[in-house]
Amino acid sequence: VGAAAEPDADTIVRRSLQSLYYGGSDMVAQVTMSLIDSGGKSRVRSLSMLRKNVGAGGEQRYFIYFHSPPDVMDMTFLVHKFPDKDDDRWMFIPAVRMVKRVAASDKRSSFVGSDFTYDDVSGRDALDEKSTLVRSEVLNGRPCYVLESVPRERSSFAKRISWIDKERFLPLKEQFISDKGETIRTFSADEVKESGGVWTISKRTMSDTRSGRRTEVLFRDVRYSVGLSDEVFTEGSLRSPPRQWLK
């Protein structure tokens, strides 16, 4: 029996998005984002992220609670994510105790000032980019598929090169290339752990090559399929966050 045929690029992309953003039926994680400037000075954002998959069509709900810094403490975000159209987003502003719906067509804007975009945090649609499998390569001891992806719509990058773990289907490295051929952002999965049977990138970094900035993200206490109720992802929850999941 010969080696199994390599899956095609679209299958790899879909499985990779599945592994990265859809693990379990739901997920709870405590997240620390360190925004580090070129001088090494860092700003730290600490948040809890709750996610639930809805149906088989790729629809998801996200709930994010900010613990720090003080000026965003108690702020909450609710995102209804649709694979093929703009998300619905609401935020709760604790200072005036107001829930505000926010326009959400800016998927490539920075998430809370970090080097990650909203797309990087909650995933993109497999059809957003056209991908080609260019080679296989071993990266840090892990056999990987190397993909080249070109966004179908105008974007901040012209091409993305991804190293996808052949066994776990998690991206271990990504390079975002400009139309001039220079690397503008680099993603790396610095630590991968198994958590409840789901392989999870527990430490990741996004570096902005041009500014010399980077954002390091740690996922702690990652739990999958804990049975988050639908009510966690409603307006009421924005105002009174589900404390039991925020520790």
Binding site: L35, D37, R43, V44, S68, P69, P70, D71, M73, H80, D86, D88, A95, V96, R97, M98, R101, V102, A103, A104, S105, D106, R108, S109, S110, V112, G113, S114, S156, R213, E231, T234, E235, G236, R239, S240, R243, Q244
Partner: protein, 416 residues
């Protein structure tokens, strides 16, 4: 009634402070100074050059416990050193306790209540506001005044009882120089609705979604938060004249819809304001019944930038009666008034710098209020901010009357 209310709050607090797992203490230190940008005749205003000069130490304690009935509490209190009034004072901002059973939450105490879709324009949000704070450039949280209230929240339903009436705080002659058509030396008394069952305000919101649209219905029975003269001003021969103000009955009913359109967010909100004490519209000192309608659209522009526009119309229901009863010397309003707003926000340098520009434009009254602001987060805890409050217009229009009070507010905030 007040006593009953206090007992409820204390009972809630008592039950929620039992067996609290952890109590969190946080807070803010603010230093806030507004500098008037124009020289004015300040005989009436002791705070001529600096209408706002204060330091605030805001202490916030919160805690929660989880059992069959979950409970939590929040206490936020400001300790203020005010260099305009040369006083120190304690301002309770929010002190409440929650009891939650399944998806039903009862919140009792002093709380900020706000709803509706408007951005600094209020249609169904009839809860107390502090416009003096806003015009002086205090942080936005001080635009809202706490209400002593019992709020019951369940999915799709919010019901609020407000036994203690709280008026809006309007710009006072202490900090603002503007023409008052009433005699300045008059003795003014304000008669607020006494806490009583029949004076308890009630507000209701029913909300839900239809597809990707947020839909809500609102109702309120209570009082206008703007004072109205209880009787015509006495002749100038009365020395000193006495003016009695009261808060007329107000009921409102309205609705709002908000949802995605062309990559942005579109919203519509409307309400009928029933001026119960003057349904005929013939009392010039009580607001006419009116219809308020708001339309809004916001859209992201480019990376970390967004804009929003709103238009608000206010239509008097009994304009002929209002016009016929007009009192000489008092400003008269048009039957239909339009107000527009524009917001532009740009975040820079990892969102550590926030530039914001907000403009109220009185389309009918030909006046404007512009609020440019720049905030920089020096560290995760410390930020500096400059806010302009620029009033434009002539005559005694709603915004133009404050034209001598344009100011720049400088401030620092330390959060912990």
């Amino acid at each position: 009634m007040t006593r009953a209310c206090c007992v409820v709050v204390l009972a809630l607090l008592g039950s929620s402070t039992q067996a609290l797992g952890d109590v969190q203490t946080n807070g803010n230190v603010y230093a806030l100074y507004s500098i008037r940008t124009r020289n004015v005749d300040c005989e009436q205003t002791p705070s001529c050059a600096l209408p706002l000069a204060e330091e605030r130490f805001q202490l916030k304690m919160s805690g929660s416990s989880e059992s069959t009935v979950a409970s939590s509490f929040l206490g936020t209190v400001d300790f203020v050193a005010d260099h305009v009034t040369h006083t120190t004072r304690v301002e309770p901002r929010q002190i409440y306790a929650d009891l939650t059973w399944r998806s039903l939450t009862v919140r009792g105490g002093w709380q900020l209540i706000t709803w509706g879709i408007g951005d600094y324009l209020f249609v169904n949000d009839v809860f107390p506001k502090n416009f003096e704070s806003f015009f002086l450039g205090r942080p936005t949280e001080y635009l809202k005044e706490p209400s002593g209230a019992l709020r019951i929240t369940a999915p799709h339903i919010d019901f609020v009882l407000l036994p203690v009436f709280e008026p809006d705080h309007l710009p006072s002659p202490l900090r603002f120089a503007y023409t008052d058509p009433l005699p300045p030396d008059a003795i003014r008394t304000f008669s607020t609705p006494a806490p009583a069952v029949e004076n308890t305000e009630a507000a209701l919101r029913l909300s839900g979604t239809v597809g990707r649209w947020d839909v809500a219905l609102y109702g309120y029975r209570g009082f206008s938060r703007s004072p109205a003269l209880a009787s015509p001003p006495p002749p100038p021969s009365d020395v000193p004249p006495t003016l009695v103000f009261r808060y007329p009955r107000l009921n409102t009913a309205g609705a709002s819809v908000e949802g995605p359109l062309f990559g942005g967010l579109v919203g519509v909100e409307g309400a009928y304001y029933d001026s119960e004490d003057d349904r005929a519209g013939s009392n010039p000192f009580i607001d006419n019944s009116e219809v308020r309608a708001l339309a809004s659209y916001s859209h992201p522009l480019w990376e970390d930038a967004s804009m929003g526009v709103q238009a608000l119309s206010q239509t008097m229901m009994n304009y002929d009666e209002y016009a016929a009863a007009a009192v000489p010397g008092f400003p008269t309003l048009k039957r239909l008034r339009w107000t527009g707003t524009l917001r532009f926000t740009q975040l820079l340098v990892q969102q550590l710098v926030q530039f914001n520009f907000f403009a109220f434009v009185g389309i009918t009254e030909h006046d404007a209020y512009l609020i440019p602001s720049l905030r920089y987060a020096l560290t995760d805890n410390l930020s500096a901010e400059a806010v302009g409050n620029v009033f434009l217009g002539e005559g005694e229009t709603s915004l133009g009357r404050f034209r001598h009070n344009s100011n720049v507010r400088l401030g620092m905030q330390y959060g912990f």
